[in-house]
C-alpha cells in the first residue's frame, strides 16, 4: 500500500484543482456566449421567442443539475454523439450557466429605462443595434457585480461532474480517500481549496456592489 503524507495529498488535490478551474472557465465563457443569444431572444419584441427562453430557464432552474448531467451523459449517445465525461460536463454546464446568466442579465436590461429603447428606435436603429449600442452598455454596468457573484455558483457546480466520472477536485478527493482512508483531512482540504477559489470572487463581487451603490447615491 502506498503511504500518503499530507503534502502528497495536498499536491495531488492542487493538481486536480486545475481541472476545476479549467472547467469553470469553459463553462462560464461558453455559458456567456449562449447567454447573450438567449438574452437577445428574451428581451426581443417577439412574444413567442421570449416565452421560449422563459421555458428554457424554468427547465434548467427547476431540475437538479445532477439530472441534467445524467441526461446529457446518457442522452447524447442516443443522438449518435460519442460522449466522454468531458463533453457531457461542458455541454451541461454551458446550458446550465446560460440559463442563470440570461435571468440575471434580463433583470439588468429591464433596469434600463424604456425610453432608451425608444430613443434608439427614433434614430432608426434596429432592435439588435438598440440592444448592442444603447441598452447593453448601460445594463452591463449593473450586471458585472451579480455576474461575478454567479461565478461562485459555476465553480461550485463543477463539483457535481465528479459523479459522472470527470476527474476534478472532488473526484480526486474521493479517490485519495479510497486509497488513504483519511476522509477528514482530505475532504477538509478539498473544501479549503474550493473556498480559496470562491471566496475571492465573493469578496470581489461584494466590493463591486458596494462601489456601485456609492455611485448611485452620488
Amino acid at each position: 500500500m502506498v503511504e500518503f503524507t499530507l503534502w502528497d495529498i495536498a499536491r495531488n488535490l492542487l493538481l486536480a484543482a486545475r481541472w476545476t478551474v479549467l472547467l469553470s472557465l469553459i463553462a462560464f465563457v461558453c455559458g456567456s456566449l449562449v447567454g447573450f443569444v438567449l438574452l437577445a431572444m428574451r428581451v426581443s419584441p417577439l412574444p413567442w421567442l421570449r416565452r421560449l427562453v422563459s421555458v428554457y430557464v424554468e427547465l434548467f432552474q427547476g431540475t437538479p443539475l445532477l439530472m441534467q448531467l445524467f441526461l446529457a451523459f446518457f442522452g447524447l449517445p442516443l443522438l449518435g454523439v460519442d460522449v466522454s465525461p468531458w463533453t457531457a460536463a461542458i455541454v451541461t454546464l454551458t446550458l446550465y450557466t446560460s440559463a442563470y446568466l440570461v435571468d440575471i442579465w434580463r433583470g439588468c436590461v429591464e433596469a434600463v429605462p424604456r425610453g432608451q429603447w425608444a430613443a434608439g428606435a427614433s434614430l432608426g436603429m434596429t432592435f439588435g443595434q438598440q440592444l448592442r449600442y444603447i441598452v447593453w452598455p448601460q445594463a452591463k454596468k449593473i450586471a458585472v457585480a451579480p455576474t461575478v457573484g454567479f461565478l461562485v455558483q459555476v465553480v461550485k457546480s463543477t463539483a457535481l461532474t465528479s459523479i459522472i466520472g470527470f476527474t476534478e477536485l472532488t473526484k480526486t478527493g474521493t479517490m485519495i480517500t479510497n486509497a488513504a482512508f483519511r476522509p477528514f483531512p482530505i475532504y477538509g482540504m478539498v473544501a479549503l481549496i474550493y473556498f480559496a477559489m470562491c471566496f475571492p470572487l465573493t469578496w470581489y463581487a461584494r466590493a463591486l456592489e458596494k462601489r456601485q451603490k456609492v455611485g448611485q447615491r452620488r
Binding site: 439530472m67 445524467f70 446518457f74 435571468d103 440575471i104 472532488t170 477528514f184
Partner: protein
C-alpha cells in the same frame, strides 16, 4: 435517429418512485424547518450579538457559501465518523442540508432585518416593549415577510441540490433513478422520468409555499426600502429577482 424510446415496463417501479419522492420531500421539509431556525437564530446574533459571535457566524456563512454542497455532504458523512461521531446516511443528509440552508437563511433573514426602518423599532419601544419583544413581535415578522420569496427560492435550491444525497445511498428520487436504470438498462428514460418528477415537485412546491406565505403574512404591509438592496441577494441565489418582480 435509430434509438427507440421505450417507457413501457416502468409501472412496476411506481412504488419506488413514490418512496423516492417522499424521501426527497421529507429531507427538504426537515432541513427547511431546522435550517429556518438556524437562519433566524444566526441572523439575530449577526445583527445584535457580541462581536466574537458575529465573527463566528460570518465565518460559518462564508465557509458554507463558498464550498460545494457535495463536499459538505462528504465531509459530514465520511469525515465525522473518523472523529468518533457515528451517524447514518439519512442523518448525514439532514445535517448537511440543514447546515447548508442555514448559512444562506442567515444571510437572507439578516437582509430582511436590515430592511426594517428604525422608526419601527422606535415605535415599538415607545409602546413599552423591551428588546426581545421588539424583535419577536415587530422586527422579525416584517423581516420574514419581506424576504419570504428569497427564502422560498433557497428552499427550492436545496431541494434540487439534495439529488446529490443519493451518492451516500440515501434512497431519494435520484437513487430511484439510478436503481431503475441499473435494472432495466433504460437509463435515458429513467432519468427523463425522474427529471420531470423533480420539475413537477419544484413547480408544485413553489405554488404551495407561495400560498402558505400569503396566508402566513396576510395583511402585513411589507416594508419596501426605497433603495434597491438587491444585488447581494442575487450573488448566490435568485431571490432579488422575485422581490423586484413582486414589487
Amino acid at each position: 435517429m435509430s434509438y427507440a424510446f421505450d417507457f413501457s415496463g416502468f409501472g412496476i417501479y411506481a412504488g419506488m418512485l413514490a418512496r423516492g419522492t417522499a424521501v426527497t420531500l421529507g429531507l427538504t421539509a426537515v432541513s427547511t424547518v431546522l435550517g429556518g431556525l438556524v437562519g433566524i437564530g444566526g441572523a439575530s446574533v449577526a445583527v445584535a450579538g457580541p462581536r466574537w459571535a458575529r465573527t463566528v457566524i460570518a465565518a460559518y456563512v462564508e465557509l458554507i457559501r463558498n464550498t460545494p454542497f457535495i463536499v459538505q455532504l462528504f465531509f459530514v458523512f465520511f469525515g465525522l465518523p473518523s472523529l468518533g461521531i457515528r451517524i447514518d446516511e439519512v442523518q448525514a443528509a439532514i445535517l448537511a442540508m440543514t447546515v447548508n440552508l442555514g448559512a444562506y437563511a442567515i444571510e437572507i433573514v439578516r437582509a430582511g432585518i436590515e430592511s426594517i426602518s428604525r422608526g419601527q423599532v422606535q415605535a415599538a419601544q415607545a409602546l413599552g416593549l423591551h428588546g426581545r419583544q421588539v424583535f419577536r413581535y415587530v422586527v422579525l415578522p416584517q423581516a420574514l415577510a419581506n424576504v419570504f420569496p428569497s427564502l422560498l427560492s433557497q428552499v427550492l435550491i436545496v431541494m434540487l441540490g439534495s439529488a446529490v444525497v443519493s451518492q451516500i445511498s440515501v434512497p431519494d428520487l435520484t437513487y430511484a433513478a439510478n436503481f431503475i436504470q441499473s435494472r432495466n438498462f433504460r437509463s435515458f428514460e429513467s432519468y427523463v422520468i425522474i427529471t420531470v418528477t423533480y420539475l413537477a415537485l419544484s413547480i408544485v412546491l413553489r405554488q404551495l409555499l407561495n400560498w402558505l406565505g400569503r396566508g402566513l403574512f396576510a395583511g402585513r404591509m411589507p416594508h419596501r426600502p426605497d433603495e434597491p438592496r438587491g444585488w447581494r441577494l442575487l450573488l448566490a441565489w435568485r431571490g432579488a429577482r422575485t422581490i423586484t418582480t413582486e414589487r
